[in-house]
């Protein structure tokens, strides 16, 4: 019994900071439960959200989790910067610091950026291609619930059992059982494995959706560029994630089942883990960045009121980036010393990526050239992105120079570089997309005025945080140190960097406030097309009805909706064109499947094998039950659709 208690509650989960977080989670959870009970919303929650297979709702749920992830990851970042603000600080101890930088990185990549891009995939892609849902709606819900339960599992670690502490990359031998005996790393390995299964399924789902479910006439070269970016990203997902699956699985086998893959003893090789991890890890960078490029391509065309400049070159460079991204992974570990030939090869391949990326930058600029630019918040993020990403990319080329990398490796120069591209590229893009598609999701606009405040705080905060870190790296400050003495010349720069992080935090708070404010003061957008958009999602009411398109559109041109508007057509449909529509039916199976994986995951984390096996048996039972599923759809009668469309004012005549 005492052994069990020691396993569940090691000293690292009993620190005042952790207990405070526990209390606030408990209070917040209780508050939500009470509120739902009081408003009698449990049935609504189950029917409308938990069992839904509607891509629009799944997108919103991804978004909520991404925001929670951004909050947790951001809080971790603020704690890290607070510790480093002054020399010899005692705010966080060394173990505590290790845990926080591990969860910061892991959450930001897997539980903030990934769900955020999947949120936008779900919200935009079917509407943009004129489809009624994704190819496999139930699988889409399964992907989501695997992710959601993995999110909960990972975030449980600091409450029960202890956080992972080997960095977001979880390199062997830092994860080796002998050196890292707690359950923290198990949480990392198993939570990422569960969400990874869902991620591969999402990749397959969107590939099939885009390849096979486009509206009539929407040939490949007439697809919106965001759809192109999702197509390419999905193909990266299905070929990159298996490497992560293997890297995590082998580490798990080492820790839980006594294999000798990454242990020095018995002939194992820790560097093989690093190799596998980055076979996934570098394409992953583009899995995050390409959708952001897609978003910018939509935003820049819409708010410049011009066709995207150089569309074929944009498509070509997306494909080129994706192919090159498979061949650059060694640049993450040049210092392993693989030899001159290997390092030279991967250094050159890395630099090549700058070419297609440069093409894209110029095309965005030429799209704005001569356009009538509107300075909306979505457009501001795009404008901030271009110089930010160019600088981040340029420092990336510096890191690709192998002899230089031997100096920069694992210094704050590297930390500054990847935050420069991941925040300046990905997060700016996601915020841009958030503001752009928010009215499509919810039917009202976010406050532009508050959005601009959030933008300026975040942007200035970003540069104040990360520019000093380049200098710190050049002055020799290495990554992941939790303390530094006086007199190294690092103190002022660190203090400035911390102040910048606080400014970014304020930007985030303004954003959240703005979301609440905009909801309370919402004015419904009845047009469905508040930005005078160019692509098909803006031809629909906001939010779109369950079946999206009462009559499936036919496309003749790129920027299909813009062309329709030029020809004087509206989004309205004729009553006689409307027929019955077959839609997928809600199902509790995805939620239960996520829950079963969660139970199995808990069992595996603590090596409670009966529980793990029971969880997996539930998983198999649910899968087998799916093979016998007959009634997975329902038909909406034409009359009901006519009524819905009439109520939305969408019927002609």
């Amino acid at each position: 019994m005492s052994h069990l208690l020691a396993q569940l509650f090691p000293p690292s989960v009993l620190r005042p900071m952790e207990l405070g977080a526990d209390a606030s989670i408990l209070l917040g959870g209780l508050g939500i439960v009470l509120l739902l009970t009081r408003l009698r919303r449990w049935g609504w929650l189950w029917r409308e959200w938990i069992t839904t297979v509607d891509h629009k709702k799944i997108g919103i749920m991804y978004l909520i989790f991404a925001m929670v992830g951004l909050f947790r990851g951001g809080l971790d970042a603020v704690m890290l910067r607070t510790q480093l603000a002054i020399p010899n600080n005692t705010f966080l101890g060394p173990e505590h610091y290790n845990e926080i930088f591990t969860t910061h990185g892991t959450i930001m990549v897997f539980f903030m950026a990934m769900p955020f891009i999947f949120a936008l995939f779900n919200i935009a892609v079917p509407l943009m291609i004129g489809a009624r849902d994704v190819a496999f709606p139930k699988l889409n819900a399964i992907s989501f619930w695997l992710f959601a339960f993995a999110f909960v599992l990972f975030n449980m670690s600091f409450v029960v059992g202890g956080s992972p502490n080997a960095g977001w990359t979880a390199y062997a031998p830092l994860t080796e059982l002998r050196f890292n005996p707690g359950v923290g790393e198990n949480y990392y390995l198993i939570a990422l494995q569960i969400s990874g299964i869902g991620t591969i399924a999402t990749g397959v789902n969107f590939l099939v959706t885009i390849l096979r479910m486009r509206a009539k006439g929407m040939t490949l070269m007439k697809m919106p560029l965001f759809v192109w970016s999702v197509l390419i990203t999905s193909s990266l997902v299905i070929f990159a994630f298996p490497a992560l699956t293997v890297a995590l699985a082998l580490t798990m086998l080492d820790r839980l089942f006594g294999t000798s893959f990454f242990t020095i003893a018995h002939g194992g090789m820790p560097m093989m883990y690093v190799n596998l991890f980055w076979i996934w890890g570098h394409p992953e960078v583009y899995i995050l960045a390409l959708p952001a490029f897609g978003i910018f391509s939509e935003v820049v065309a819409t708010f410049s009121r011009k066709r995207l400049f150089g569309y074929p070159a944009m498509v070509g460079s997306l494909i080129a980036i994706s192919l090159l991204s498979y061949g650059v992974w060694v640049h993450h570990f040049f210092t392993m010393g693989a030899g001159a030939a290997v390092n030279a090869f991967f250094g050159v391949s890395t630099m090549l990526i700058a070419i297609p990326t440069g093409v894209k930058i110029f095309n965005w600029i030429f799209t704005m050239w001569g356009g009538r630019i509107r300075m909306t918040v979505a457009m501001l993020w795009q404008l901030a992105f271009i110089p930010t990403f160019v600088i981040g990319g340029a420092t990336g080329v510096m890191l690709a120079v192998v002899p230089g990398d031997y100096q920069f490796h694992n210094s704050y120069f590297l930390v500054a570089h990847f935050h420069n591209v991941l925040i300046g590229g990905v997060v700016f893009g996601l915020f841009s997309g958030l503001y752009y598609w928010w009215p499509k999701m919810f039917g009202y606009l976010l406050s532009e005025r508050q959005g601009k405040w959030a933008f300026w705080f975040f942007l200035i905060g970003f540069w104040v945080t990360f520019f000093p870190q380049y200098l710190l790296g050049l002055k020799g400050m290495t990554r992941r140190i939790y303390i530094y003495p006086h007199g190294l010349g690092w103190s002022p720069l660190n203090l400035i960097s911390t102040l910048g992080a606080y400014a970014m935090g304020i930007g985030f708070v303004i954003l959240v406030y703005s979301v609440v404010y905009s909801w309370r003061h919402r004015e419904p957008d009845l047009t469905g097309d508040p930005w005078d958009g160019r692509t098909l999602e803006w031809s629909l009411p906001s939010p779109a009805p369950e079946y999206n398109f009462a009559v499936l559109p036919e496309v003749t041109e790129r920027d299909a909706w813009w062309e329709m508007k030029q020809e004087g057509r509206s989004g309205k449909v004729r009553a006689e064109d409307i027929g019955a529509i077959r839609m997928p039916r809600n199902t509790p199976v995805p939620f239960l499947l996520g829950m079963s994986f969660f139970v199995a995951g808990i069992g595996a984390v603590f090596s409670w094998w009966p529980i793990a096996i029971a969880g997996m048996l539930f998983v198999i039972a649910l899968l087998v039950s799916g093979w016998f599923e007959e009634h997975d759809h329902h038909d909406i009668p034409a009359e009901e659709i006519r009524r819905t469309e009439a109520a939305l004012g969408r019927l002609e005549g």
Partner: protein
């Protein structure tokens, strides 16, 4: 350029390709297989890097016996053939024949898994567990992952047989049997490479 599939061709298409919505499942399954190719590639890469790192444990030469492995190979190749005949029968609408060939496929798969388990347990009894060396770890993981896939396929075939028995050959069941056959032949391909890269090259000195 746009080439429209000829309407007459549509009616000649096999049953599993006639419902546009069902065919999404076929493409989706192919993409999953393409992803699984990369999963196995990573395990092959691990094996290729670790096969010489035997530490104090047995070497490939000591542990591999081509006799039983050849039997396993023939079992799996035959099951791939019977599965192909099953699809051939399905396209002639012969439910009973399809079920018989599918059942035979499943039994051959069971025999394969049985032999593999025997091989593994004998290995462990003779040479000790995978803890001993990176080579053993990567060998058991690579071959075991394939064996796990086959076991899952057996479960899948059993479920299909139940469904065929209850409903016969419909667009929905035909599509499912077809995707199962893709999975089964795919596992056969993986085994060919396992046989070559692991067992045969283990005997090259």
């Amino acid at each position: 350029m746009t080439v429209q599939a000829h309407p007459a061709q549509q009616t000649q298409m096999p049953l599993e390709f006639r419902d546009s919505h069902e065919t999404l499942g076929i493409l989706g399954f192919w993409l999953f297989l393409a992803s699984d190719v990369v999963l196995f590639a990573c395990l092959f890469a691990v094996y290729a890097v670790f096969h010489g790192r035997v530490a104090a444990g047995p070497t490939p030469l000591q542990i591999f016996h081509l006799g039983p492995v050849l039997t396993e190979t023939v079992l799996l190749l035959t099951s791939s053939f019977t599965c192909g005949i099953g699809i051939f029968m399905m396209r002639r609408g012969r439910t009973k024949a399809l079920m018989a060939w599918l059942a035979l496929t499943m039994l051959l798969g069971l025999a394969f898994v049985g032999m593999e388990i025997t091989e593994f347990t004998t290995d462990v009894a003779t040479f000790g567990t995978w803890h001993q060396s990176a080579f053993l770890s990567s060998f058991f993981t690579l071959v075991g992952t394939h064996g796990g896939h086959v076991s899952f396929g057996i479960l899948w075939a059993a479920a299909l047989l139940v469904r065929l028995w209850r409903q016969g050959i419909t667009q929905a069941t035909a599509r499912r049997v077809y995707t199962f056959s893709l999975y089964w032949h795919f596992l056969d391909i993986i085994w060919i490479f396992l046989f070559t890269v692991v067992y045969l090259s283990g005997k090259i000195t």
